[in-house]
Amino acid sequence: MRDLSRRALDTATQQGAGYADVRLVRRQDEDLTVKSGRVEAVSMGETEGFGVRVLVDGAWGFASSGRLDAAEVDRVAGLAVRIARASGTALRQRVRLDDRPPAVGRYETPLQEDPFALSMDVKIDLLLEADARLNGVKGIAFTETMYHAQREWKAFAASDGSDTEQVITHVGAAVEVNAVEGDEVQRRTYPDAGGGYQAAGFEYVRGLDLAGRAEALAEESVELLSAPQCPPGRQTIILDPSQLYLQVHESCGHPTELDRVFGTEASFAGTSFLTTDKLEAGFRYGSDLIDLVADATAPGGLGTFGWDDEGVAAQSVPLVKEGIFVGYLSSRETAPRIGRASGGAMRADGWNRLPLIRMTNINLLPKPGMSLDEMIADTDEGLYLASNRSWSIDDRRLNFQFATEVAREIKGGKLGRLYKNPTYTGITYEFWRSCDAVGDERSYVMLGTPNCGKGEPGQGAHVGHAVSGARFREVQVGVGKW
């Protein structure tokens, strides 16, 4: 394999590349789905290939192939150079990369129980048991339990002498239950709507205790059918970690991507309100309680690695400090444009995709003082919102609207009745400025999503979010006509 990497770099540089890097990637996926008591899907996938990225006279080219032989390596490296030359015919600003020492070494996700060494029937039994518990509750229409594991081996080499090898393992699982009556479909999920995921071994899945949580979840989905509609108005809300992580993802993670700020995602996902003048001005993003970091070293995070996909070492980058906007997710190309070095956030979705600035683990740091339960007890009136049901945010990441699966009334410091179809909306910085409580370490949990979409051709990223729950004041809830 190393021979192929060296050949790709040599071919690219001989044909005119001033800089070249190559990633060889082999990915293995395992997926199980149980639907309403039936094993609906069991699949294993493997893919391998390589991608060559080159800079020719300051213009980028990238080509990739799933065929790993010397002739194909020559063709693809040559094609990358040809593509870069075509790019150069519509170029206004030559790309300049920041300096970094060559990356050399090996990284592997720490884990206790290798999910790929474990027999498939153990995993199937775990899902079937959880699914049976869900279906044991009267009134359930359909259920779905899932398990996913992914292992990616990748070797990165660059013309500057970088040479790294990484083996990254992710696992995830979830239960979902749906109750249906007429036009009403009420869903409940655990650990959250997209599934609980971590960089870990099967011990993480066992720790979720899917079966143990199933029955109460199913009962709540049935109860939601007859619950009153969430009333509209301005309210105090407390976001459970199962919703707060997505709020962080959409309204902090994406707007701090520096490539968005510079417009390179404008035609697809949009740009960002966090323009560079706001960095210089010390823009107030949230209340004093808000400390957000992009931490690629956080244990268990889906955005944890040794080096990013252009050979920058994993690090923790402050994004918001005591409410003030202080940093971006960045790359070797974008960071120098604001006078900084790359924060190591370039990640590619496999061998056939170009690395883009992606979230690593965007974490809202816990604040000593109140647990989530104590936060509820400290709230006279409001709503407790859990588990995402839908999400939407504008193309500059300002106006957002979320729906959650469930809302519980808070009255006199206690959780009360259930409301169905809750929604809330706001403007990003107004919302984060209205935060007056962040949970402490006791509810701090690493969640994440394996399907963060960005780029063209589309790329899915595995990104992590550690959060502990938080309270926000005067938030508009109950949007739309019901």
Partner: protein, 449 residues
């Protein structure tokens, strides 16, 4: 394109042979070879330019009532043998699926003309850069910046199964999207898709987006509320995509999560929606990912629900034959309409806008998501050009608004349909749509641009 390679149907049959040797009672191989090239531009320069070549084999291995699926992109005999062994192993670990209907029997598949284009297959990086320069030139003239992407995709798809299905087809398409933006935050959009990428007029689309961006300068705030709207074709795509995702799949109906009931009225008389992969207005395909011939399906006729799309499994449950809408296995979401078309109406663009006493002209939607799937209640933002219309005339740009609206309610409120249609790329497939005028649309929030 890479050098000449083994035909995809031949790869599929090799995979089947190894599955049969491993003891499959039935087996199916789907092989997809893709050569995809994409040039992205932003700030009026090319900033990403990529190429990908890959061939993926997806093997469905069946032993009685058990099913296992495995995939690989390694095509040598040893790898395909290992693929078959993997699929067999995971298949045999499972409990039986009592209602598994088996693989589909072979049927007649007529190859639809127009699925592929030699020009697209042979597209070069230089041609894509030329298209980008044409868009940038239009933006320069309008004193805005150009953003977008130009993609060319050449595919070869083959499906073979042990019951005798054996089909292959080359497919291709090109796709250009353009966003033009100015210093004041003004923005415009244009898009085109075609099997033959040389039919995409990059300069014209560049001019359309740039012109709209100029017209969007100095947008003013507007109070959210209920407004009649004209939805341009780019916005109508989202209606069809979302309704296809939420309700036009037979599995969604069987699981009771769909709004769809045959005979139920969900739209005005002006709304007729079909899925038809044989229509050359879109990007044709002859068969689905189970090797079944694509059948035209009338989803909604004059506002009334008619049929949903089926794959082999949902069809067996319903006691009928698949309509040719199966997705690659394993597929827990069910069949999907990948080639939706909305019938055109009789109105010109001027007549659509002319019918608004006071309302909004919407270019497109952004980041839409269902709030309540069965009611098809969706939220999202407007983007890249929103205009206030008074007494039938566009009076000026307004800042973007958030909507929270049932898409079924929108179909019911369609009071005029454009006579021109555009071929555009949707969520998963190609969509052919006209613009529409809708009597009321609920906007629930505002943003700062």
């Amino acid at each position: 394109m890479a050098e000449q390679q083994e035909a995809v149907l031949s790869v599929a049959r090799r995979a089947l042979r190894f599955a049969e040797q491993a003891g499959a009672t039935q087996c199916e191989a789907l092989v997809q070879r893709t050569d995809e090239q994409l040039t992205r531009f932003a700030n009026s320069e090319v900033h990403q330019n990529v190429s990908e070549s890959d061939t993926v084999v997806n093997l469905r291995f069946i032993d009685g009532q058990r099913v296992g699926v495995a995939s690989t992109n390694r095509l040598d005999d040893d790898s395909l043998r290992r693929l078959a062994d993997t699929a067999a192993r995971i298949c045999r670990l499972q409990p039986e699926q009592p209602d598994f209907a088996g693989l589909p029997e072979p049927g007649s598949v007529s190859m639809v003309p127009g699925a592929c284009s030699a020009a697209t297959v042979e597209a070069t990086p230089e041609q894509r850069a030329e298209a980008a320069r044409a868009v940038i030139s239009a933006a320069d003239e309008a004193e805005v910046l150009a953003y977008g992407s130009y993609r060319t995709v050449a595919e070869q798809v083959a499906v073979a199964n042990s019951l005798g299905v054996g089909v292959e087809e080359p497919r291709a398409h090109g796709h250009l999207i353009v966003v033009a933006m100015g210093a004041d935050g003004e923005a415009g959009y244009a898009e085109g898709a075609a099997v033959d990428h040389t039919r995409i007029d990059a300069a014209a689309l560049g001019q359309e987006a740039a012109g709209k961006a100029r017209a969007s300068r100095k947008a003013v705030s507007l109070e959210p509320g209920d407004y009649p709207v004209v939805l341009e074709e780019y916005a109508v795509v989202d209606l069809l995509d979302m309704l296809g995702y939420l309700g036009f799949s037979a599995l969604a109906v069987q699981e009771e999560r769909s709004f769809f009931e045959a005979g139920k009225r969900i739209g005005s008389d002006l709304v007729t929606l079909r899925d038809d992969a044989t229509d050359t207005a879109g990007t044709p395909a002859s068969f689905d990912y189970e090797g079944i011939a694509k059948q035209p399906v009338t989803l909604v006729e004059k506002g009334v629900c008619r049929e949903v799309v089926h794959d082999a499994q949902t069809a067996a449950r319903a006691g009928r034959r698949s309509t040719g809408h199966g997705l690659p296995a394993p597929n827990t979401y069910g069949p999907f309409p990948l080639h939706q078309l909305m019938e055109p109406g009789e109105s010109s663009r001027e007549e659509l806008i002319g019918g608004l006493a006071r309302g909004l002209l919407v270019t497109r939607f952004h980041y839409t998501n269902p709030v309540h799937p069965k009611l098809a209640m969706v939220t999202g933002m407007t983007r890249d050009g929103l205009f206030l219309v008074e007494r039938g005339e566009v009076v000026g740009p307004v800042r973007n608004l958030r909507f929270t609206q049932s898409y079924l309610g929108a179909l019911a409120g369609v009071e005029a349909v454009g006579r021109e249609r555009r071929t555009l790329r949707g969520f998963l497939g190609t969509v052919v749509v006209p613009a529409v005028r809708v009597s009321a649309f609920t906007f629930t929030g505002a943003t700062e641009h």
